[in-house]
């Protein structure tokens, strides 16, 4: 079981309120991702759940029990840190064994769990090495192994992939998703990378300045962002946000059009412009179109075969069914 409920949780550092009163419900077995720009309070929120920071107000319930004042170890949670936080003076085996040693689990049971975790994480060959002799990806797997053997009611991940290079990050992302499918344990995952959030989460919590902007499944957030912040944050490349006359035409203060929802034509369409930068990725092409008469440069995502280059004239037509409308408060107009 791993149901986590936050009720009116607040956090102040001195006079600065980093988390205003906040409610959140994380269901058992859910993969929840906290996402937001740096300094939005997502790591602080995770540390409050972990017990590494004390709340300034409100309650944290884990499986229905009040855990607000419990010590980190008593909450039944395991955490994986950005820096891996392995014990450098201990072998991989001892690192993984440490939480079990602290819990006084019998030696043969410890060995059984270590072997199982090492096998699952491809670490069997490295059990007698020190963390310093491992690569970044292997270290992160040791940190995950150390978390698994505790058989926690929930896993907490604090930007676990930030220190890895791009290729390894994609691999580890898959491994963590597979781990969740296999264990079906609650996972709370913090990241500033919206791609990680979209690909891994059952439920995304978008945070800004300590406030929850929106909670929903990745597709809900993608299809119906509640406000301009979520609209701009979720999706890559970013949604085009247009104000002024073009928005007024649609009866909104701001309209948003995702780059993939704009049709490109060399012959005719709604907006005429000139290609500024074109990025050919093979599978996709990103165009940054200027001089459209709109205030902003328009980002367009088109198929990989479209051969348009700097200086070419193009016509853009947004998909009318997929235009997002926002009022002057920045809130979505249904």
């Amino acid at each position: 079981m791993g149901r986590i409920m936050l009720e009116n949780v607040t956090k102040r550092f001195g006079d600065v309120e980093v988390i205003p009163p906040l409610d959140l419900d994380i269901n058992d077995g859910e993969f929840v991702v906290f996402v937001g720009p740096s300094g939005c309070g997502k790591s602080t929120l995770l540390r409050l759940i972990a017990g590494l920071e004390d709340t300034s107000g409100g309650r944290i319930l884990i499986d229905g029990k009040d855990a607000t004042d419990l010590a980190p170890a008593k909450r039944g949670l395991a955490m994986v840190f950005q820096s891996y936080a392995l014990y450098p003076h201990m072998s991989v085996r001892k690192n993984i064994a440490f939480p079990m040693r602290m819990a006084g689990i019998p030696q043969d049971e410890q060995n059984r769990r270590i072997e199982a975790a090492a096998k699952a994480l491809n670490l069997t060959a490295y059990l007698d090495r020190r963390p310093g002799q491992l690569s970044g990806g292997q270290r992160q797997r040791v940190a995950i192994g150390r978390a698994i053997v505790r058989e926690p009611s929930a896993f907490l991940f604090d930007e676990p992939l930030s220190n890895l290079d791009a290729a390894l990050r994609v691999g580890m992302r898959l491994e963590i998703s597979e781990l969740h499918n296999r264990l079906k344990t609650t996972m709370v995952y913090v990241t500033h990378d919206q791609v990680e959030a979209m690909t891994m989460a059952d439920k995304i919590v978008v945070l800004q300045a300590g406030r929850i902007e929106q909670v929903g499944s990745p597709m809900e957030l993608y299809k119906a962002p509640k406000n301009l912040f979520v609209a701009g944050f979720i999706g890559s490349p970013k949604m085009n946000l247009l104000t002024g006359a073009v928005a007024a035409q649609h009866g909104a203060a701001t309209i948003g059009v995702r780059p993939e929802h704009i049709h490109v034509s060399p012959t005719g369409g709604a907006w005429k412009g000139r290609v500024g930068v074109s990025e050919h990725l093979g599978s996709d092409t990103f165009f940054y179109v200027e001089d459209t008469g709109l205030a902003e440069t328009i980002t367009v995502r088109a198929g990989g075969d479209l051969e348009l280059y700097h200086g070419d004239t193009v016509w853009l037509t947004p998909d009318p069914a997929r235009i997002h409308r926002f009022d002057d408060q920045g809130l979505r107009i249904a």
Partner: protein, 276 residues
């Protein structure tokens, strides 16, 4: 061209380094050399480098005149004792300042350091009077206490800078893994900090061993360490250079040997944080 220039620069740097090193080492070398000269040749002008009559008579004389081992033993108790007590106080202090710093942490650290800026002689009279009135004058307990206080700021500072290099996340991981404060310090912090604690210990033993102001002023006969042993050879009746040198050599030999064998630890401790 560039290679030639860099070779020349390297040669020049090496030469300067050796010159400085030899200049620093020369007094020690001369002291040891003088300790093997007869008293008359020790003050001969021009100084004699090799052409003197090698003798051990100074060492015999020193042994006969004063009890080397009693002084040696006092030095060991005072330096090791004050360092160990200092460490017991400083480890928790440095832990809290490094990992749970408060608003005043930096000020406390500066204030502690500022006590080292006060000339020792400024507090000599009050401490002397306190020691006299409590009957602790010329006792090892007094010297252990005074030297603990004198060196405590340095011990705390060294450990503090060392602990600061240990990532806090590792200690948080230990807390998440169920470690109590005791197991956190015992199984995680201390093993990681062993090199730092060891070099702090060594440096402070050396500082306390060589400390001369308090040991000379607060001791007479019973608790006098080796510094007093050396000083007793510069008497009002005149200097006996050869015997003074023999006493000095005997006093510095133990710490020199200790320093020689632990130089790797010492250098690592002193430069820690400069190069990661």
């Amino acid at each position: 061209m560039a290679r030639a220039a860099s070779t020349r620069r390297k040669a020049a740097t090496t030469l300067i380094a050796w010159t400085v090193g030899l200049l620093i080492f020369f007094p020690i070398f001369w002291t040891v050399l003088t300790s093997f000269k007869p008293e008359a040749q020790a003050i001969a002008m021009p100084p004699r480098l090799w052409n003197f009559d090698w003798t051990l008579e100074n060492y015999t004389a020193v042994q006969e005149r004063s009890n080397y081992f009693r002084h040696f033993w006092n030095s060991v108790i005072i330096s090791v004792g004050s360092t160990l007590i200092g460490l017991i106080i400083a480890i928790p202090a440095a832990w809290s300042m490094a990992f749970v710093p408060g608003r005043g942490t930096r000020n406390i650290l500066m204030w502690m350091l500022s006590t080292k800026m006060l000339p020792a002689v400024g507090v000599l009279v009050p401490i002397y009077l306190l020691a006299r009135d409590t009957g602790l004058l010329d006792s090892r307990i007094l010297l252990v206490g005074v030297l603990t206080m004198i060196n405590l700021p340095i011990i705390v500072w060294m450990l503090y800078t060392y602990f600061r290099e240990i990532p806090g996340e590792i200690l948080e991981a230990a807390r998440m893994d169920g470690a109590t404060l005791r197991s956190e310090i015992l199984y995680v912090l201390t093993p990681m900090a062993v090199p730092g604690i060891a070099s702090t210990l060594l440096l402070n033993v050396i500082l306390a061993w060589n400390e001369a102001f308090w040991t000379l002023n607060l001791t007479a006969a019973r608790s006098a360490p080796l510094t007093a042993f050396i000083a007793s050879y510069s008497s009002p009746e005149g200097l006996f250079y050869a015997k003074l040198s023999a006493a000095s050599t005997m006093a510095i030999a133990p710490i020199l040997i200790l320093g020689w064998f632990s130089q790797k630890q010492l250098v690592r401790g002193l430069t820690f944080g400069a190069v990661k």
